[in-house]
């Protein structure tokens, strides 16, 4: 079957099989930031946005994306620049395999919650597992980003 959808702002038509996951289609479209970590919807690595909402592309049937707008890390690199800089400063990337999915969740959170509390952040991001870092450095990077955004607001 043919899937017609918008990928990172561009209209696309892609031949898919009806039982295919969105993750598999996105990788075929060259979005290599979208990766599989667990196969069981537990790790959050495959997080992308569908119509602006963060979803797990490993368990999202590709046909459901028909007519929708899908955003991956490839489509938000500019928006992610500050966050990536703070993550790099903290050494929070380590192996980097979970980073794109994590960044997609953080950016979705910041669009949804303007000034999240620590609890809200932890709840929102709890589905994004990371085995390398123990999460603290990620948290410090987000706090720095929020501070920067706040400062920019006040100027």
């Amino acid at each position: 079957m043919t899937l017609t959808f918008t990928l990172n702002g561009r209209k696309m038509s892609q031949e898919i099989s009806p039982d295919e996951s969105l993750l598999s289609v996105l990788r075929r479209c060259g979005c290599y930031s979208v990766r599989s970590g667990c196969d069981t919807s537990n790790c959050g690595i495959c997080t992308v946005w569908v119509d602006g909402h963060a979803i797990l592309s490993c368990s999202y049937p590709a046909p459901r994306a028909e007519g929708r707008s899908v955003t991956t890390m490839e489509g938000v690199r500019d928006e992610a620049q500050d966050l990536m800089t703070f993550l790099a400063e903290e050494g929070a990337d380590q192996c980097g395999f979970c980073s794109p999915g994590f960044i997609m969740s953080v950016l979705a959170m910041l669009r949804e919650l303007k000034d999240p509390t620590v609890d809200e952040m932890e709840q929102y991001l709890s589905g994004n597992l990371c085995r390398c870092t123990g999460y603290n450095s990620q948290h410090r990077a987000i706090v720095k980003l929020l501070e920067k955004r706040r400062d920019e607001h006040h100027v």
Binding site: T40, M84, G91, S99
Partner: protein
Amino acid sequence: MSENRFRAVNRAVPKTDAFSIMGGAPVYTGDMVPRDALTVLLLRSPHAFARVKKVHKDKAMLVSGVVCVLDHTDVPSHRYSNAGASYPGNNPFDRRILDEYARYVGDPVALVAAETEEAARKALKLIRVEYEVLQPVLDYETADTDPSVVHPEDNFVFQCDIGGDLEHNVLSTIQSDGGDFDAAYAACPIQLDETYHTMANQQAMMETFRTYSYLDQAGRLTLVSSTQITFHARRLVSQALGIPQAKVRVIKPRVGGGFGAKQSMGTELFAAVVTHLTGRPAYCCFTRQETCQCTNTRHAFRIRVRMGADLDGTVRALWVDSLENAGAYGEHAANVIGLSAHKTIPLCAKAEDWRFTGKVVYTNTTPGGAYRGFGATQGCFAVESTLNKLAVKLHLDPTLIRLKNIPEVGKPMSAYYGEVLQSCSLDRCIATGKKMISWDEKYAPAPFSKPSGPHRYRGVGMAVSMQGSGITATDNCSVTLRLDDGGFYTLLIGASDIGTGCDTILAQMAAEILQCDTEKITVSGVDTSYSPYDKGSYASSTTYITGNATTKAAKELLGKMYDAAAETLKVPREELFFDGESFSGRGARLTVFELGRDSVNRFQTWLSATASFSSPTSPPPFVAGFAEVEVDTQTGEVKLLDLVGVVDCGTVINKALAHVQAEGGFAQGAGMALYEQVHLTEEGKLSTNSFMQYKLPSRLDLPPIRIAFEESYEPTGPFGAKSIGEVVINTPSPAIMAAIQNAVGVTIQTLPATAEKVFMALRAAEGQKEIR
């Protein structure tokens, strides 16, 4: 050590690959697979132990797109080990690519390679296998008396005598002694005899095992693989396939974590054998379930500790008796067991009379392998828990009992291969950790002293640990550093950056000596065709071993640059001044750019240096770990409130990366302590084989982990550095168990401390005292 002594090291420098890996660039193995690569899938045994009588492949072969279906009769019969370690070593050659025997649930029996994944999946379902089902050995504590023999084959190879007895499923037995344990123990007024169990934890790196292979332009079998052991993999693949190493090439791209798992091969040979037999590119990628169940885990241990002490808490006699479950294959097993004693006993430095006995057994379960800590983690839980028990028994503060026992600089550590300790700030680590967690306010010797709500009590606990920095006189590496046209440097390494950041820290070290910015050092690795040999990334070795080789090469290159500048400028070398940008003297000046240009265009020798390093010592890093918990006596739930780690890794090379290494290690240690339960079915199948069943700590399960560094200066290390990677995982288990004991009086000696286990222990204790 003042802050500004260094310009490139001892700073927080972002990783050289940070923006490509975070931005989702296609830099990992699975992102670069050739379009025409065959998909390789494995048919796995449903039985824990069986002999494969016949594999019926004919129907599978009929599936359109299937290129080959292989079983043990189709693949080379050479035995080898999956373990990446310097050779000759002691890992048994107990594997075949596909074997006549299936030795655990999930052991591969047949392989399909097809044009598409769909075709391969369809073919897998059409293979029929006739098994002779055998009685499996599932309990490692009785494996040596089990009538079944896990390795009955006649071409099993021990590389050397490691005390094996295959008839009794014993892979290795070991004993070493210092002094006279029996006499010293008998003379001690306090004697403890405790037994502990640790689990077969999952390394759970986020990128599962994956490899693709192809024949390169020279017809060499080329593997691109997510591995920690690029060079060892070349040797092991050549051994397994029976082809010369010259015909094998291995490339390591970015790796999505390893934690030791990828110190053993996983997918390499399944892709390689297909390319070898068909000439076609092939890709083998394990699912999460395969990675959990069919690669390798931490070795499960039972450790009995006998500890004799004086009334003041000085440990005089210590016996660590370890039983280790190798699982079905012996990767790393005979090495892992040694660390359970050699990296724990030295922390009781006054115990001059010590003994280590160990036995490694085969069972029909998922193989063990390397996992961060490598036996020291298991040993640390047992020995440090016993030391905490001694503190309780003697009514001594556990931090003070450590100060009585920890090793001193300048003294030989007899249980640590006799090596002399040259740097240690463990006393400062303990002092700083106490302050950070407010130990003196929070520690009350008696359980139930700190109620924090209805049926809730708080407690604190601590432990100390050590590891090594590389493997003494065993692991070697070389690096090449050269000045390139354009005035930049290229650092060629064989060390495998698996996310730990060795590309970055080695560049920092070179930059420190060459007095330039880290960005001026381009790091390249790893491709066995172009990279200098390196043992790989394991055993906490890159900072120390490859770091020492890097500083040697950088000094040598700088010397050559001085010579070349002196000759070009006609100024005596002693009068030259180098500021990182240019050489100057007697009013003349030559820039690094000009030197690089002349080096490639004019000189008879290219300005480059290759240096090797093998260490006669393995200086231990140290850590003091502290935990605060709150235990609910009605549910047994343990809430981890605080985790504090203070680390002595010598000079910190990269402040950000070392900090995150420590935080990540503590997080994994906390997972092992509280959440990561391992379960086998009655038939011997690992049922905790996905992240659905195997509970990795999420950010909701962990407190903010607070890390500090108490730097020492290791005279043999690069810029005074020691390792950091492994030591940081060891203390959470004993510290958290001690905190639980401190809170509610129960002692958990089998990990993890699930709510159920704590609740049952509380219930058992209730029979002995009033109900709380």
